[in-house]
């Protein structure tokens, strides 16, 4: 094939082509540096769109079984001392990845719960003045979900009432996104919320019911 791929790069990246058409483009791109760059740009554009989606977590049970399968040593395959050494080496990174996985699972679970609630309940959305953040809340004030974009430092959500502040918790960063979230599944009605970072109020939202 001598023709350059041109607009087909976008169709390729969007998944609009049949497998044989993709093979044709792959074959051409393998020997054409200009077209492979074009393809890479289209793939980056599609990925940018995909990254705006929430990350769907694999079933927890499945992850657990896979982790167990990875961690399980082959019985009697090695002498005991070698086995023990291998286990120590294997478990150190596993412990780290377990923590990472666990944090990711918690974040994903929170996001999933919040989205289910939003889909099922009438709600309102109010922006936090002075920041790229918003609160989505039930019309009856029984639940709240605070979404903050571009969080650089730990940030807590406060309920402002009667001249005092009540700490509702810290926003949790979402995996693979420049976004953090705090979901409060059961609450009473709150009229004013604030975002606090390093002890300073950085943004406030006035809720209406």
């Amino acid at each position: 094939m001598t023709d350059h791929i041109g607009d087909d790069a976008a169709l390729y990246a969007l998944g609009m082509l049949e497998p044989d058409e993709r093979d044709r483009i792959d074959a051409h791109a393998a020997s054409c540096d200009a077209c492979v760059r074009l393809l890479g740009q289209a793939e980056a554009d599609v990925t940018a769109a995909i990254l705006t989606q929430p990350i769907a977590a694999p079933p927890v049970a499945d992850l657990a079984s896979k982790r167990a399968a990875v961690a399980k040593p082959a019985r009697y395959a090695m002498p005991v001392r070698a086995l023990a050494a291998a286990l120590v080496v294997a478990l150190l990174p596993l412990g780290y990845f377990y923590q990472q996985n666990r944090a990711m699972q918690v974040a994903m679970s929170m996001e999933s719960d919040a989205m289910t609630r939003m889909a099922a309940s009438p709600h309102k959305v109010v922006a936090f003045a002075g920041s790229d953040a918003k609160v989505i809340y039930g019309k009856d004030g029984s639940w709240y979900c605070v979404v903050v974009h571009g969080v650089r430092t730990p940030m807590n959500v406060m309920w402002m009432h009667d001249g005092t502040q009540t700490d509702l918790g810290r926003v949790t960063p979402m995996p693979h996104k420049d976004m953090a979230l705090l979901y409060l599944p059961a609450s009473h009605r709150m009229d004013q919320l604030a975002l606090v970072s390093n002890g300073q109020i950085v943004a406030q939202a006035q809720l209406v019911f």
Partner: protein, 178 residues
């Protein structure tokens, strides 16, 4: 080049070093699974899809080169293409066996996203001229082929292709793609 950096990973991935493949899976596994799940709407299918797509990449000589850009984008598109192929194949089988029009797979999570992060995508889409937005939405959200879109919008195939290409570049740029 710093070990563990994206550049180091890309170089090792292009050279088909085994550790790079493992590292890419470790870094992007959740994103790849999620990409497949959003198309297929089924956990088991999504896991099979990721595994098949990655196996194909590993078996294909020269599938990835540094000029292509990020390993992440390359893998995301590989997995999404595999998922869409499966979806179309499933839909065709349903049409044959059940003799009814196959329902597009409903992706409930996808619909929920309007409220939070996905509104960024919707907002970026809305800024596109209608002639670019319409075909792009049909391609991205409904996984339609260019032929189907051209028929639906009653426009020449070449026109649809160029509008989609232009719209996608603008969309990527608005969403911060490099």
């Amino acid at each position: 080049m710093q070990a563990g950096s994206d550049e180091a990973l890309a170089a090792a991935f292009a050279a088909k070093e085994k550790w790079a493949f493992d590292e890419a899976y470790r870094r992007y596994g959740a994103l790849l699974y999620s990409t497949a799940y959003h198309v297929l709407g089924n956990a088991e299918d999504a896991q099979d899809c990721v595994q098949d797509a990655l196996s194909r990449v590993w078996r294909s000589p020269g599938a990835y080169s540094r000029s292509r850009g990020e390993v992440r984008s390359f893998l995301v598109v590989c997995v999404r293409n595999e998922a869409i192929t499966r979806l179309r194949s499933k839909s065709r089988r349903q049409k044959l066996t059940e003799r009814v029009a196959a329902e597009p797979t409903q992706n409930v999570e996808f619909e929920y996203t309007d409220v939070i992060e996905h509104d960024r995508l919707r907002a970026a889409m809305r800024k596109l001229p209608e002639e670019q937005r319409k075909p792009l939405e049909l391609a991205y959200y409904q996984q339609k082929t260019h032929t189907e879109i051209a028929a639906e919008l009653q426009e020449p195939l070449g026109t649809i292709k160029s509008r989609i290409a232009l719209g996608l570049r603008k969309l990527g740029s608005a969403l911060g793609a490099p």
